[in-house]
Symmetry: C2
Subunit: 434 residues, 2 copies
């Protein structure tokens, strides 16, 4: 059991504006959090590289590269973060004026977004959470897969520090040879995991590092049992905060970042994988509550996947419902969309009469979830997987060059494994296949 | 194992225009099929009511009402079928002119649709298949749940014979007291299962029969293990018809009837449950093939869920793919959409260069699927379920009177069970709870 789990689970969830430090409010946790900050993640990774627990025959160190969008680490990083976001044609396609228009939009939105970050403590909590997840996951991984130990977690963000190019340097400095690109988006979309992998492709090529590591990819994991258990536990914990006689009438609103319909109409698998996750979570919870899949954070005038989360709350309020739990089903760590945007929805819903809308915190350091991540990576290493079969399927209706390049690049980069799996069926250790 | 399974599984699937009798091409099957037709379903049900195998303490007979859209039993039934379909505001909302406009559209479409039915043997195969499924399911149910035996299958169709009003009469004549309204659409939509249950509500009220049977409802079952196994076996059987070296490059295209976006934007759960089914099927198959969820049978100028099945095939053809399997994921029996429409897509795809597109036949009499249905109903009876929790959730964005009425009607009609479950955890029989 991780130390913060109990505290997080029973933290008041409908508490208006949240500060990231409020997640870490016991003296022990504050010491731990500050120590982590002081030491720096790299120092911790460095220490682990030299760790004495590594088995003699290990082929490690193995980098577990935790890919995500990231978030600004300070208010001054908001503009560079938005600039990277809006100039990324994979997530926000702006045509031939991508760079200029992207910079312009980023500059215009910075003041408003800065204010939002001020409200959640002046920085995104996504990096601290990813670092905690990585450390705990790697501890378990060292036990599950000593042949590939030590496992070193490397958060790698698409739009914020630590950026891809810097992480690659750190990986090299840490003596890593084997690397798993492990997306932290459980459900695949070309706009998220696809974009991160495009950036990795670009940086590996630019830095002439394609031969420096032996790569494999975990590109989607929408129904991984630990992930599902983590969601179910976290939802149950919030359900338990309602009076007993209100629990059955509390509606579970799964809220995922929406996508433009143009993307969905091309065949992007994201919404289907989100649906697979939410269905599996409800199955784990025994379908005791009503639920709905909703979509948040739509921007611009085009058509996006609906129903929108705020519309759902408005409609439920009109129908006389009081209680709902907002579940951020497509993110695993808290960040601006879960901390600020969902709180805004809650405030709006309250004004409409839905007085009992509460927010499920991100999975963050939920122990079942982190154990699930470790199981997933261990299984991936043991089976010598390259990536999912689905990874080589470009959306049928898409002709983007970046998608084609990604597919070709990784199909070449990630070698076919020809030797035996790392762990045989009887769990005897055998050699690592690189 | 059911008798026809092997034959169906290895029947040539890409055989152009199909006749329903081609599914039943061995002498033994033809004898069986003709006997069924001659005896008539009612006669068979009658005989079972008197059957000597029923246990003395049974609370049966229990009607398993198999609700579906149905299809015309002859070419002359095409127009009445289309008229019922287009005048049903639950599935095709035409506003205040529903009746007049619906009749007009039905009349106009009849000649074309008649031709389509001519091509598949002059009638829809949905009733014969449903009768076979019902008989086989009930045989298993009698063993699994002797307390509620005999179980009598009653196909009940929304737009074709046997219509709701007639089936209710037959149920009464058969001495039925307990009835399970068992939707044959695995994934719930207000436009399908919702419409069937609305019709049942209307007819029960009209015929003053609300107290004649003790009802419960199986309103959705998108990931029932037997259903998933049935799909996986059927897909594997088609995969096995490709040369070994082509199997990995064969793309699985799950094709479900599309829905207008207006319906989805209100919060209809259908597309999410379809995604849960297809994901579970791929999981069962070990994710060895690439796959995509696509949507077929769009009509009219409004926006519907996409990508459309034919678009997907067109795009795949452009990208140089040759092989794909079309899987009718939202129907369990063959009918016009699976037999005729998918064959049309296959012919079009062939013209575009996709020479290896094949169609998975409906689950029809797949043994795993039928065992799954029996397990589902047995569990439902044993747990004394009313309906799913989700069933009382109207789409948040919908204010249709029929939806509200349905919810209220069944919440009242289907009694809360207060006694012990039918079968205790140790599988000892106890009394039935009505």
């Amino acid at each position: 059991m991780l130390r913060t789990t109990t505290m997080i689970r029973f933290a008041p969830v409908n508490c208006g504006r949240l500060l990231v430090t409020r997640f870490l409010s016991t003296p022990r946790e504050i010491v731990r959090y500050n120590l982590l900050k002081k030491l720096g993640h790299s120092a911790w990774v460095q220490r682990r590289t030299m760790a004495s627990t590594v088995t003699k025959n290990s082929q490690g160190p193995t980098a577990i590269v935790m890919m995500n969008m990231g978030g600004p680490g300070s208010l001054d990083e908001v503009e560079p973060f938005l600039t990277r976001l809006f100039t990324d044609g994979d997530i926000i396609p702006l045509g031939p004026f991508q760079q200029k228009l992207g910079r312009f939009i980023a500059r215009r939105r910075t003041p408003k977004v800065r204010k939002n970050y001020e409200m959640i403590g002046g920085r995104s909590p996504i990096l601290p959470w990813t670092e905690i997840q990585g450390k705990e996951m790697c501890k378990i991984l060292d036990t599950l897969s000593p042949q590939t130990a030590p496992h070193l977690p490397f958060p790698m963000f698409r739009y914020a520090n630590p950026l891809t190019e810097d992480v690659l340097d750190r990986m090299k400095a840490s003596g890593v040879r084997r690397a798993v690109a492990f997306t932290q988006y459980p459900q695949y979309s070309c706009t998220t995991t696809g974009s991160s992998l495009n950036e990795l492709r670009v940086q590996l090529t630019k830095k002439n590092m394609t031969n420096d590591f032996t790569w494999s990819i975990i590109d989607r994991w929408p129904t991984q049992p630990g992930l599902i258990k983590g969601f179910a536990e976290s939802i149950q914990a919030i359900l338990d905060t309602y009076p007993k006689n209100e629990q059955d009438d509390t509606i579970i609103v799964f809220s995922a970042h929406s996508l433009p319909m143009t993307q969905i109409n091309k065949g992007d698998s994201y919404i289907n994988e989100v649906a697979a996750t939410s269905y599996a979570v409800m199955q784990q919870l025994g379908f005791r509550n009503k639920y709905i899949n909703a979509w948040q954070s739509q921007v611009g005038p085009t058509r996006w996947m609906a129903p929108q989360t705020m519309d759902v709350l408005t409609w439920l309020a009109k129908k006389g419902h009081k209680n709902a739990i907002l579940v951020p089903i497509a993110f695993t760590s808290d960040h601006i969309e879960t901390l600020h945007e969902l709180e805004e929805y809650i405030a709006e819903a309250k004004a409409l009469g839905m007085t009992g809308v509460r927010r499920m915190p991100g999975l963050n350091d939920n122990a079942s979830f982190i154990k699930g991540m470790a199981d997933l990576v261990a299984g991936h290493l043991q089976k010598n997987e390259r990536f999912s079969t689905q990874f080589l399927m470009c959306c049928p209706g898409c002709n983007k060059e970046s998608c084609k390049l990604r597919k070709e690049f990784y199909n070449k980069l990630v070698k076919q494994r020809t030797c035996e799996p790392l762990i045989s069926e009887t769990q005897n250790a055998s050699g690592i296949c690189v």
